[in-house]
Subunit: 351 residues, 4 copies
Amino acid sequence: MPIEVSIIGGSGYTGGELIRVLLRHPEVKIKRVTSSQYAGMYLHMVHPNMRKVTELKFSSREEVEPCDVLFTCVPHGTAMKDMEGYMKLGKKVVDLSADFRLHDPKDYPTWYEHEHTRPDLLSKFVYGIPELHREQIKSTNYVAGAGCLATASILGLYPLAKAGIIEPDRIIIDAKVGSSAAGHEPSLSSHHPERSHVVRLYAGTGHRHTGEIEQELNFGIKPTVAFTAHAIEQVRGISATSHVFIKEELHKTLQEKDIWKTYRKEYENEPFMRLVKDKKGVFRYPEPKILLGTNYCDVGFEVDPHTRRLVVVSAIDNLMKGAAGAAVQCMNLMNGFPETTGLDAIGFHPI
Amino acid sequence: MPIEVSIIGGSGYTGGELIRVLLRHPEVKIKRVTSSQYAGMYLHMVHPNMRKVTELKFSSREEVEPCDVLFTCVPHGTAMKDMEGYMKLGKKVVDLSADFRLHDPKDYPTWYEHEHTRPDLLSKFVYGIPELHREQIKSTNYVAGAGCLATASILGLYPLAKAGIIEPDRIIIDAKVGSSAAGHEPSLSSHHPERSHVVRLYAGTGHRHTGEIEQELNFGIKPTVAFTAHAIEQVRGISATSHVFIKEELHKTLQEKDIWKTYRKEYENEPFMRLVKDKKGVFRYPEPKILLGTNYCDVGFEVDPHTRRLVVVSAIDNLMKGAAGAAVQCMNLMNGFPETTGLDAIGFHPI
Amino acid sequence: MPIEVSIIGGSGYTGGELIRVLLRHPEVKIKRVTSSQYAGMYLHMVHPNMRKVTELKFSSREEVEPCDVLFTCVPHGTAMKDMEGYMKLGKKVVDLSADFRLHDPKDYPTWYEHEHTRPDLLSKFVYGIPELHREQIKSTNYVAGAGCLATASILGLYPLAKAGIIEPDRIIIDAKVGSSAAGHEPSLSSHHPERSHVVRLYAGTGHRHTGEIEQELNFGIKPTVAFTAHAIEQVRGISATSHVFIKEELHKTLQEKDIWKTYRKEYENEPFMRLVKDKKGVFRYPEPKILLGTNYCDVGFEVDPHTRRLVVVSAIDNLMKGAAGAAVQCMNLMNGFPETTGLDAIGFHPI
Amino acid sequence: MPIEVSIIGGSGYTGGELIRVLLRHPEVKIKRVTSSQYAGMYLHMVHPNMRKVTELKFSSREEVEPCDVLFTCVPHGTAMKDMEGYMKLGKKVVDLSADFRLHDPKDYPTWYEHEHTRPDLLSKFVYGIPELHREQIKSTNYVAGAGCLATASILGLYPLAKAGIIEPDRIIIDAKVGSSAAGHEPSLSSHHPERSHVVRLYAGTGHRHTGEIEQELNFGIKPTVAFTAHAIEQVRGISATSHVFIKEELHKTLQEKDIWKTYRKEYENEPFMRLVKDKKGVFRYPEPKILLGTNYCDVGFEVDPHTRRLVVVSAIDNLMKGAAGAAVQCMNLMNGFPETTGLDAIGFHPI
């Protein structure tokens, strides 16, 4: 007997990706996919890849019945407003908005410029990166899906931060992300002739995901993260290059193999983490190109002999490991399914 | 008990795609993947998408044991030379070269500029488009995988040709194909700064696939096909626009709904054929972009009120329905598996 | 003393390109560039390439003074409404809308689905392709800039049609065009994640430029043109592949060198026409990639030994030879300047 | 009377761009363009954009006569070997290799892994960034063209470094560069299906241009630069994001307007420097997309309220301001021509 799931807000890119994955998930039946704008229409009118794949139509919010897992893909800010209702509908809820990612209500004004209206619910949510919080996710009913840029950044640096190798106040992250991350609403900045082939600084400073990264890399000392995001030509994919500095007292003695060991210790048994650092070949370091449709996070690094710097590169598909894939990974854990169920797609080459 | 398959020539793009599909095929175990150049190396050194997915290494040709199905992805011209040996290795053989596609040995000098060296074997092979030759494929041991541009073209026009609606000597096909179709060997014309963003006439006339198309659209009268191929920016994907003309005697009476009926009659129950012809939406006609990784062939058409012309558009992923996917579809039929086994991937949106 | 020109409607892509060319034209001074939406703002707020290049600001329509040449880049349909006023402002007018391209008022309902409201003005306008109508352009005050797809198509076929070599009712044109041709208004179909990497049939039949092509290729017998347009990945550039058929009576005797001669006869002395048909090299046929920013139209052809077909490929930059560049070429002729003035840019390689 | 110039090594991308600019330079006549591989062939066989533009053919090295200015576009390492001969041919020499960029011979083993064979010649060369060394360039006969990534990086940071605002040992540069920077030799890594749509870490550490950057940003204290380069989808263009830190003692008092002032002081009168930092619009920060074919270097910055960081973005066309354009700018200065002669191209929008 598959579990029954519904998706609130299924007409956007994250919702669409969730549908794509869940339709092939052997333990799941999709009951409802809501869209106020498209209610009554076939999914494939909005998600053309669904043609002949499913006969599902968009529902209105009111039609959603109680279900086993409810995925909420609603705009940031509205999830907190409606969460109490969602919690009544879904035995378990995976929220893909930003509204329940930060544990400390004081962080919302800092990063989101508004107060959190339901601080009482914050502690119910586990931050949705299984590689960091697997046991908690297994036993919670409420998961806050992590930000896509945060996911790539955190997974690249987590083993180093946890091991206390790097200076917590010298973390610089230079991230590059495709156009799908900005959502499905057309605007002049997303207009193809304007958007095509850019290397566009869109968040030099102040990106909201900075708060999540600092929260998750906090091992005793809260780190200061200097985060910058660029929009690039791609539709999908994130590549995050972190420039971090080895603590002065370790610099002389720490060797490349020690860094390796640090990563292996955390990620060796992780099904979706791959260490990519080859001496030969074309794809020697992580590259989002070959991650499309997968739930992998590839991580590689280089030691800079010229400074105390480590260059860490991490790559994901922003709609998969950065959103829908991670949400399903969490759902699997919350329901006792094998963690990789429905998520074993292999990337493409060439692409 | 899965069947055992091996792949001769697994370092190219078609071989790689075959591996990708077969690794997730529930009825199949890959025994060997050969490469003279890379024998002994892990697959992922050549196919970076295989990292952590499989521990398989490339084998030499000599290591290949007898198996249930042998896929041969070798250069055109060498398959005919070695086929007798391959037939001893594989109970069934699916050849992805061009060497056994044309039934008439006289067509090889015309389209390939050399004689066929094993005309005695030609009649053993069934042309590998299941939508046209399903029953024969079910009962044969030898399938010749169809050309990628031929597949898109044939599937777009087959119902019209079979129904005798169009003039057989006024078939113009203007095809567009991505860079992966030219294979994995670097050259100046594939060098990124030269190849990027082209709309390049690479086969204005004389394309080899023309012979296949004429063969398969021959319903009594052998058609004359004017075929042209352009290289476009994409890595994957084929879009073939056919400009065909309704027979004069039918022109006045034939209506759009009759064309619909003609297509529905042939494709209604086909699992991989989709008719795409919408009045609204962004993806109103077939588009390879959303077919990546799928085995679909999408077909749409438009009736030109200004002439007797029908514009038919068909789209595929050249490495899937145009090569590896179709090969697995044939393998499924040859082995009595449900036809869609291992081929139910949904396309991506956005991408 | 430079002449004074103004541009009505300068915030779009055609207007912007016109400004770019005219700012470097040694015989021209731009007086006004109008935009109702941006009046009062610096040009570079809309055209970021103008930063530090000019201090010009957008004007309102009312501020425009009488001038030597007025360029009108207004929406189709409104040019005819306002032309009488424009003719009072500009001693000469180059209209870049579609409103004065067709000579016969009856053609407007056919191709534009509305009547022409000022049929009395139609005969005043010369069709703006100098390679066909140079002498008339020299002596007129009113030019109707040709459509971009029409320009590429007409220039590819004009010598063949004029020489009476091809069958006038078997002209199939399969055109590919970049996203800039659809203008600067964002929409879902131009949204980067949706528009990126498409090969999209956007006008299978019924494209408005068909009327212009039939008008201009009319040498005694009005031809029937089967025209189809695809949107491709590029931002700029048009490639038009024409599939035309040699008249039966000529087919046996006509040789490739005769086709060459036919093209040379018309284009040998044309400064912006290049015949591109090489046996070697990467860029053997016309390709819009290397035409960006130039006023060239490159034309090449291939004789199909398999049919009576000629494959003709022509390529332009849709905003230059397809719009602003041709408009300036006409302006040069109308004012007695050397035809190439301000238009001698060399294309880029690589790009 | 134009001066006579020749180009040693004109078949590559830098040589081709130099030809493109010089053919339209009113004070210059190109005498020879050498290529050992293509001697005797028309330029347009290699540079397809030159078709019908020039009748020049490639020459052999031996045919080059003494000339006013010699541009040397030869592989790194061979320029130093042959420079003495070049100095006899050209009254003035602009070397576009890396061989004479670093003043200190000890820096060559560090960054180039070999000794400099002609350290005696090093002091004759001025580093070819006019914005830093205009007066020296005016009075020298020998200029070493700056590295493309170095140019973007240096011009972004020079005013800050000179003003002593930033910590010299906390300079992190994350650069992104298109495929043309890797030259015109095909390889597997430049093969379109492999290279297309990458965000590829190709020089995480150890990039040779680091040496130049440290040399040019040395104002008393030699800075330590942590430099990283990524290959991106584009063919042309560099975007360099520098993450630098305001000195602790200045952090509290230094305001954004002070940073503005610092940049304005250095660049206000520079014809090719533009400060790009808008509150509104799509192109608010420097973007290489709209710099194609121009000699501009656009620079913008953002103050990070969360850290002591300044994010500086600089963008150039790597083949223009990063190579050929800067070389011509230097030639102009060396010959007393107005600095912008032949370099006044406006960028494209859209593109």
